[in-house]
């Protein structure tokens, strides 16, 4: 379990290696899809996203001075919701404009037996933080998370 596809958002994700922690990377045709992929990779750091039912919707609203800091804000907002609601998320619908991200994230409460959560994510870091398009025009959104 290190990469996957989120059909609903057509966002793809993968993990990349950082010796102490873990990198999360999302790809997509749009920045929003890449942000969804990165969020899915965040969930996958904790458990198999396929085991997380998108039952309950949570609204997220955050802002940052540039798109890279906005990615860290987005992931940190999800970390906060995961922590305070004791939930895991498996479906994401972010909308980005003018340095602001508004999103709906769907998920369910963590169940230790079923989800076997491996780690708690402490926060998204600015290490290997990058949001941009590759040569083929595909969006990439990535950073290392502290676990």
């Amino acid at each position: 379990m290190s990469a996957g596809q989120n059909d609903q958002a057509r966002a793809r994700w993968e993990h990349f290696c950082h010796v102490a922690d873990l990198g999360v990377r999302g790809y997509g045709r749009t920045m929003e899809e890449a942000f969804s992929g990165a969020a899915m990779a965040l969930t996958a750091a904790v458990t198999d996203p396929a085991a997380v039912a998108p039952l309950t919707a949570v609204e997220i609203d955050c802002a940052a001075p540039d798109v890279e800091l906005l990615l860290a804000e987005w992931l940190n907002a999800l970390v906060y919701e995961m922590s305070t609601r004791r939930m895991l998320f498996s479906r994401f619908q972010p909308r980005i404009s003018d340095g602001r991200l508004r999103a709906t994230a769907w998920g369910e409460p963590v169940e230790r037996e079923r989800h076997q959560p491996a780690v708690e994510v402490k926060g998204a870091t600015y290490t290997e933080l990058h949001v941009g398009r590759d040569a083929a025009g595909e969006w990439i959104a990535q950073c290392v998370i502290d676990v």
Binding site: V19, P117, A118, K122, G123, Y126
Partner: protein, 476 residues
């Protein structure tokens, strides 16, 4: 790391000479093999730290240094507020005051042989551990602020532990200068149900057996003898610290340029110590230190309750409690002059030497206990601060082995069940809510802690006192 880029100062000390924007040199401790194995990022990050305003003498990296966020993990740097010095949220990290405390049980292996499985089950049942776990204590707004100001002292006043514990905690259990008002409501909310929880990842509670004594004199002063059973708790400031780290990292990254600070890496996010954001961060970070101290104190109390059900005579006195991720205002001698400096330790242990006034009687004569955690199945070590380490590293030493393999690499190499079974064959009992978590934390995913500790000893950062091996590990 390419050793040709370093100037060797001694067998265990290497210098990156001042170059480019560096204000001071960088010094990395360890032997040739340890440094050769270090990531090049440690070199780059130690250099970046050396460029920050107000840094004094050198940027240091301990023998367990590895690629961190802005600062290397195992990084130590001191700043002078009166010389435009900075405080860095990245230099402290997300898990503020993550640390280790060790308790004596006064039991021997024979005393626990028949009960250790039941003891492991009882500890696992009574100490909240792992993702999604909640503590038994709920703090209202007033109590939250009292905890953030009072630390372990607050916990003892509320009945979690004994007043005698406090002398054996850094800052006697309470970090002064905490500003609960500088801690956001989101950080407090994240902590509301997490008091007295162990967390996950590399955090643990272990029963350990003293398997080797290196320095009988200091061991006696620490109350340690061969085959003693100890309890060691490794955890930090939980969600509150993580949230404070997250929020100030962003604020400092976006405001640094307003203070004329050029960040070579955004993760080095910092602010002048005397600036409003610097002062707010110090107040919030100190509150997070208190949260970590209170948390370890509550877990100590829960552990004592479990032990009382098995051994009426076990009092579980505290040997010591150390913190790894902090920025503290301390006096250090630089060039023959005592200066008040803000010392960042990022994945490094304070290691005050003999005679330091901050140490309680009983420890002042021999130096501060330096508790070095291992990983399930590997040794942990107890060292003591040395007389000469102030000049080497602002009285700091390593904090653990550090990973040698990524989490992904570990899950590809091991299955959790296999790790648990193999350790059981060696007499080590593991309890954890997550088999994947166990695989990610497999002992083989970590570097050899013995080599790191030997290097710290020979470099003069801390003196080896005792080695302990796990008997039971409760893993998050």
């Amino acid at each position: 790391m390419d050793l040709n880029r370093l100037k060797q100062l001694s067998e265990y000390a290497w210098e990156i000479e001042r170059q480019g924007a560096m204000r001071v040199p960088a010094v990395i401790y360890g032997d040739g093999p340890l440094l050769s194995d270090m990531d090049n990022k440690v070199y780059e990050q130690a250099v970046n730290v050396a460029t920050l305003p107000g840094i004094v003498r050198a940027s240091y990296a301990m023998p367990d240094a590895h690629w961190g966020y802005g600062f290397p993990i195992g990084g130590v740097a001191a700043f002078d507020a009166d010389d435009d010095g900075v405080v860095s949220a990245g230099g402290v990290g997300f898990d503020i005051s993550c640390g280790v405390r060790t308790l004596h049980t006064r039991l021997k292996p024979d005393d626990i042989e028949t009960t250790k499985t039941a003891l492991a089950d009882a500890l696992y049942a009574n100490i909240p551990v792992g993702v999604g776990s909640t503590g038994h204590i709920r703090l209202d707004d007033e109590e939250m602020d009292a905890m953030l100001s009072g630390g372990a002292q607050w916990a003892v006043e509320r009945g979690y532990g004994q007043s005698g514990d406090l002398a054996r905690v850094e800052e006697t259990g309470r970090m002064r200068g905490a500003l609960p008002a500088a801690v956001s409501s989101r950080a407090k909310k994240r902590q509301r149900e997490e008091m007295g929880t162990l967390g996950s990842g590399n955090h643990y509670l272990e029963l350990q057996r003293v398997c080797e004594i290196y320095d009988p004199g200091i061991a006696m002063a620490f109350g340690l003898a061969r085959d003693d059973i100890l309890v060691t708790i490794h955890c930090g400031s939980r969600g509150l610290g993580h949230q404070i780290g997250t929020e100030f990292l962003k604020e400092m990254a976006t405001t640094a340029s307003e203070y004329g600070i050029r960040l070579p890496d955004r993760e080095l996010a910092c602010a002048p110590i005397l600036s409003p954001v610097g002062q707010r961060y110090l107040g919030a970070m100190r509150a997070a230190i208190n949260c970590a101290l209170a948390n370890r104190q509550i877990i100590t109390h829960l552990t004592r309750e479990v032990f009382a059900g098995f051994f009426s005579q076990a009092s579980l006195e505290l040997l010591y409690d150390v913190s790894h991720n902090t920025c503290k205002l301390e006096d250090h001698e630089v060039g023959g002059v005592t200066r008040r400096l803000f010392v960042h330790r990022k994945g490094a242990t304070r290691a005050f030497g003999p005679g330091h006034p901050a140490l309680p009687s009983g420890l002042r004569e021999v130096g501060q206990p330096v508790l070095i955690g291992g990983s399930m199945g590997t040794a942990s070590h107890i060292l003591a601060g040395t007389a000469g380490n102030d000049a080497l590293s602002y009285a700091s030493a390593c904090h653990g082995a550090g990973r040698r393999m990524s989490r992904r690499g570990a899950t590809r190499t091991w299955r959790g069940r296999q790790v648990v079974d193999e350790l059981a064959e060696r007499g080590i009992i593991i309890r954890s809510p997550s088999m994947r978590g166990i695989a990610e934390e497999a002992p083989g995913a970590y570097k050899d802690v013995d080599a790191v500790v030997d290097a710290a000893d020979r470099a003069g950062l801390a003196r080896k006192v005792a080695k302990v091996m796990p008997v039971v590990c409760i893993k998050g």
